[in-house]
């Protein structure tokens, strides 16, 4: 398959958050600020990339009937690696995301890409797909985190530009749904889906 097409699909036409609507737990949970969204996006990107790589390498070795448990073990290993490394070397980010890192394992985006793409395509395509989907996910999380941070705390990436407390609803859970709804609508309008 054409690599450019895979990249375009991952970031735009099949954007995991705004088009596929996959992995919404971290999308709604951690996007209270642009920095948190970006960090979560990068963590997921790493896991997607590595698990797509490994799954596509071992796909012929794994018998069909045990492929899901095998893939999950691979994904869980990479998630734990991310968790330990982040706690050791980026303790501030870990404080903010700690609770959500183990949940990358059950992020349907990661298993979905392993099962639907990496296990059926060659290694290079699988890695490209993991990278593109990861970038699409990161951009979406950063955008939603940025929107919620701007409206909710009048700041972006921690830099406050207006004094005051902001619209609290955008920091709380309902703001995530409202923000995601509007961003999805705008995104689909922009790419001409509806």
């Amino acid at each position: 398959m054409n690599k450019i097409k895979i990249i375009k699909k991952g970031i735009i036409t099949d954007n995991p958050v705004f088009v596929l609507l996959l992995g919404l737990c971290p999308v709604l949970g951690v996007t209270t600020s642009a920095y948190n969204g970006f960090g979560m996006g990068l963590a997921t990107l790493f896991v997607l990339f590595m698990s797509n790589l490994v799954v596509s390498l071992i796909k012929n070795f794994i018998p069909n009937k045990v492929r899901i448990p095998s893939f999950i073990v691979v994904i869980a290993s990479f998630v734990t690696i991310v968790q330990l490394t982040m706690e050791a070397f980026l303790p501030d980010l870990f404080d903010a995301l700690g609770l959500f890192i183990p949940l990358i394992v059950v992020n349907c985006l990661v298993l979905g890409r392993s099962e639907a793409f990496a296990s059926k395509n060659d290694t290079f395509s699988a890695v490209t797909d993991g990278l593109a989907m990861g970038i699409g996910f990161t951009l979406a999380l950063t955008a939603l985190g940025g929107l919620r941070e701007i409206l909710g705390s009048y700041s972006l990436f921690g830099y406050s530009f207006i004094e005051g407390d902001g619209m609290l609803v955008f920091v709380l859970a309902p703001g995530a749904f409202i923000g995601l709804g509007y961003l999805t609508a705008i995104f689909l309008k922009l790419i001409g889906e509806r």
Binding site: K59, N60, I62, S70, T80, A88, V171
Partner: protein, 198 residues
């Protein structure tokens, strides 16, 4: 390479190998990251202790059980030239808006609070996280707070502590944590406990 058949032997061996490789890799990563993780936790705790007690040159820790609750509190006794100058108590509460909150509360030897700093919490960003020192100066009101004269309760609970707007539960829980430290301290405020042993 052709795809392997789903025979019993193939399935068992595959799962064994996948799990084995994963376990081995994780143990390697764990070994590498164990040091930095522990050092980070230790440093954060030491920083919290030196933040909530006056200057000291020697530290001794001791555990005491609070009157309510099962987990004991860690008392870090700070000495300067052999003289007790402060007590940093690592305390907790389970009544936060998102459950567990832990904090380090520093007392002068007479029971007056020197300073308070949070250790862990999962409170709402933008509301409950005002208990953090770098987010708001709310917790500065505990400086030189004397719990024997004033009550460690929120003003709306007939106490002497200002609440946090829109985060009353968090503020109440934080007071509960500090109060737990104070009550445990007064229960055990026996000279013999706090002497620096030779």
């Amino acid at each position: 390479m052709a795809k392997r058949e789903s025979t019993f032997a193939n399935m068992v061996s595959t799962l064994l190998i996948v799990a084995g490789v994963a376990a081995f890799t994780l143990s390697m990563v764990y070994n590498v990251t164990k040091g930095p993780i522990e050092r980070g936790r230790y440093e954060r705790k030491q920083a919290a202790i030196s933040f909530v007690v006056p200057e000291f040159d020697q530290l001794k820790s001791k555990n005491f059980l609070p009157p309510e609750g099962r987990d004991s509190l860690e008392f870090n006794l700070a000495y300067k030239n052999g003289e007790l100058v402060g007590i940093a108590v690592q305390t907790y509460t389970n009544t936060g808006f998102s459950g567990y909150i832990s904090a380090m509360v520093g007392f002068y030897p007479d029971g007056t609070i020197y300073d308070v700093v949070h250790l862990e919490h999962a409170e709402t960003p933008g509301l409950g996280d005002k208990i953090e020192k770098d987010k708001s100066d709310w917790s500065d009101q505990f400086k030189d707070f004397d719990p024997s004269e004033k009550s460690l309760k929120l003003k709306q609970d007939q106490g002497d502590v200002d609440g946090i707007t829109a985060a009353t539960i968090t503020a109440r829980a934080y007071c509960d944590a500090i109060n737990r430290a104070y009550v445990t301290l007064t229960e055990n405020i026996d000279e013999s406990h706090f002497k620096l042993e030779e």
